[in-house]
């Protein structure tokens, strides 16, 4: 199955020289393997990096941004080795997965400082910060301390720091995690817009439908290995055979559950006792996700947080990688 998918990678983009290239790269953390003999070539455009938790996505991004040194093999980005080549970072942007900031700063100060760190001058950095704030729709909240931001605002400001210096290659590690449906839509639009201007964007996620929303070109990782690389349509057929589990947090979960079960594509709703969230099972995730935006906007059933409880993806990976 995986061979079939690999046989048609990146339709229409095969002739491009790679912007990001991994040549037989392995990365060990002591006895634990993070990446296992990975060979990968990514041309310009938006590519989705898909894999369940622990599949090596973050390791791949940390290797590509020069934070980690490969144990074996060679990583090249824009034809440079990223490890100990800080000049390359002038062209790269990273939105890291961890929800960490210099909490005492305001959003604007954080971006100005990131611009200065990226090599922009004292006059250019505030202007670049302003542009980045507009890009992620955070201008109104820019002068509030980050520690008071909601999860969605923190994700936006994290994305803004990645683009503040106008990079050529953008690495986004789970950029949509924990965002509300409206923020999710806006961030997806921002990523698509960024990729449509000739940049290279690599978006990691463990949620298939997040990746599908931004690109048709995907790379599948599991347990540190490349499972498949190719067009999104070939993998979605496999994934849609398995019920997709989505976790929703809302101050009115029972009303939300009652609203959701009216739709045919919802095959189950489960109430979680530990955090008061509900887990919804659907066989048509596209329709479900598009409906969430309307639900969040109409105000009757507010939604604070959405994320995929993606055991279904793990099942597909197990199918793709025979043991």
């Amino acid at each position: 199955m995986s061979d079939e998918i690999q046989s048609s990678p990146n339709p229409g983009r095969d002739s491009s020289p790679p912007i990001v290239e991994f040549r037989s790269v392995s990365k060990w953390y002591g006895q634990v393997i993070g990446l296992n003999n990975l060979t990968l070539r990514l041309p310009s455009g938006v590519t989705g990096l898909l894999g369940p938790n622990g599949s090596g996505k973050s390791t791949l991004l940390q290797l590509a941004t020069g934070q980690l040194r490969p144990s074996q093999g060679e990583v090249r980005v824009l034809d440079h080795r990223p490890w100990n080549e800080p000049g390359l970072n002038r062209y790269l942007g990273l939105c890291p997965e961890q929800d960490a900031f210099f909490e005492w700063m305001t959003g604007r100060a954080f971006l100005v400082n990131c611009g200065l760190l990226a090599g922009l001058g004292r006059r250019a950095a505030p202007e670049a910060a302003e542009r980045a704030l507009e890009k992620v729709n955070m201008t109104a909240a820019a002068d509030r301390p980050i520690r008071g931001y909601s999860k969605g605002m923190r994700q936006r400001i994290k994305l803004a720091q990645a683009i503040v210096h106008d990079p050529i290659v953008l690495f986004l590690d789970e950029p949509l995690t924990g965002t509300d449906p409206v923020a999710r839509r806006e961030l997806i639009d921002a990523i698509i817009d960024w990729g449509s201007h000739g940049r290279t964007v690599l978006v990691s996620s463990h949620v298939f439908h997040e990746v599908q929303a931004v690109t048709r070109s995907i790379v599948l990782l599991n347990r540190g290995r490349l499972v498949a690389q190719g067009d999104v349509r070939q993998i979605r057929d496999l994934i849609d055979e398995h019920p997709h589990r989505i976790v929703l947090k809302s101050p009115r979960v029972r009303d939300l559950a009652a609203e959701l079960v009216q739709h045919d594509d919802v095959v189950g709703v489960e109430f979680r006792r530990d955090d008061g969230a509900i887990v919804v099972e659907t066989r048509v995730p596209d329709r479900f996700y598009s409906r969430l935006v309307d639900l969040a906007l109409d105000g009757r059933t507010p939604i604070d947080e959405v994320y995929s409880d993606d055991d279904s993806l793990e099942a597909v990976f197990n199918y793709l990688v025979p043991t």
């Binding site: 983009r13 002739s15 491009s16 020289p17 790679p18 912007i19 993070g34 041309p43 310009s44 938790n53 622990g54 090596g56 996505k57 973050s58 940390q62 941004t65 020069g66 934070q67 980690l68 040194r69 824009l78 034809d79 440079h80 100990n84 800080p86 000049g87 970072n89 002038r90 062209y91 790269l92 942007g93 990273l94 890291p96 997965e97 961890q98 929800d99 960490a100 210099f102 005492w104 400082n113 990131c114 200065l116 760190l117 990226a118 090599g119 922009l120 001058g121 004292r122 950095a125 720091q161 210096h165 106008d166 990079p167 050529i168 590690d173 995690t177 201007h197 000739g198 940049r199 463990h206």
Partner: protein, 300 residues
Amino acid sequence: MTTAPIPDLTSPSTPVPGTTAPIAGAVPRPLPLPLPLALGLSALFTVVKITVTRQNRGIRLLILAVLFAMPILLAILIRRYQVNYHAPPVENALIFGLLFPVLVPLAALLLASGMVQDDIEEQTLTYLLIRPIRRWAIYLAKLFGTIVSSWVRASIFTVATLVAIHWGDERLLGVILRERAVIALGLLALALSAYSAMFGWLSLWVRRSLVVGAIYIVIVEGLFGSIPFMVREATVIYYIRVLAVRWLDLPGADWSIELDRAVSASTCVIVLASIAVAFAALGSLTFRTREFRVKTPEGN
């Protein structure tokens, strides 16, 4: 500013790096792209600024303020209750018996051990490592920020202690603040540079650097530094005491320092500066080659 211009990929007339599928008829630009030197002054100053700001926040600031307030409080109490109060021995005891051998290394340990570790624990180191700044320069900027931060703080409390000791003395605004205080601040700079460089390097190698550093302060600086034998020449405090005796006319007998047999002042300065430079170089080399893996929420 040493930065290479970023190609405008949105302009039809600008080549798109690394692609053979040009945008709007652009001519492809060959890879690899030229890389900047990655030593921009604004970037390095920003690292210093972030380091100083971080170190002047939270519980650490409170602990240091309480520690450094002790000599001031003691000076006030001694003045209040001592019959026939005489300032010089009090200055000797509080500044050179408490502040320099105990509080200064403790302050350096508290700040230097956290200058990288705090960024690791709070997962903010990523924001520095993904920038076009050489890693050794990031470390040196953080160390510089730490030394400046600790020196300013220690200087304020040292001057305040001197004022508390000599309050009412007609020489306070003259020889005490203009000469003795200035020399004391110079000694603080030397001591804090040496200690901060040592403890900064230590924190890159030892997980419990606060504990190991505290043991070092007690045993090496406290015990060995007071033994009138060659071993004390391997401590920072010995050179600080020799300088204090030479420059401030303190009684060397208190520390068994005989000026005609002790090392010269210039040797003391060179040794202390060399300790600072050597450990700063070791720390920056370690920081340059070390992988700082960020544990992500997925915990791979």
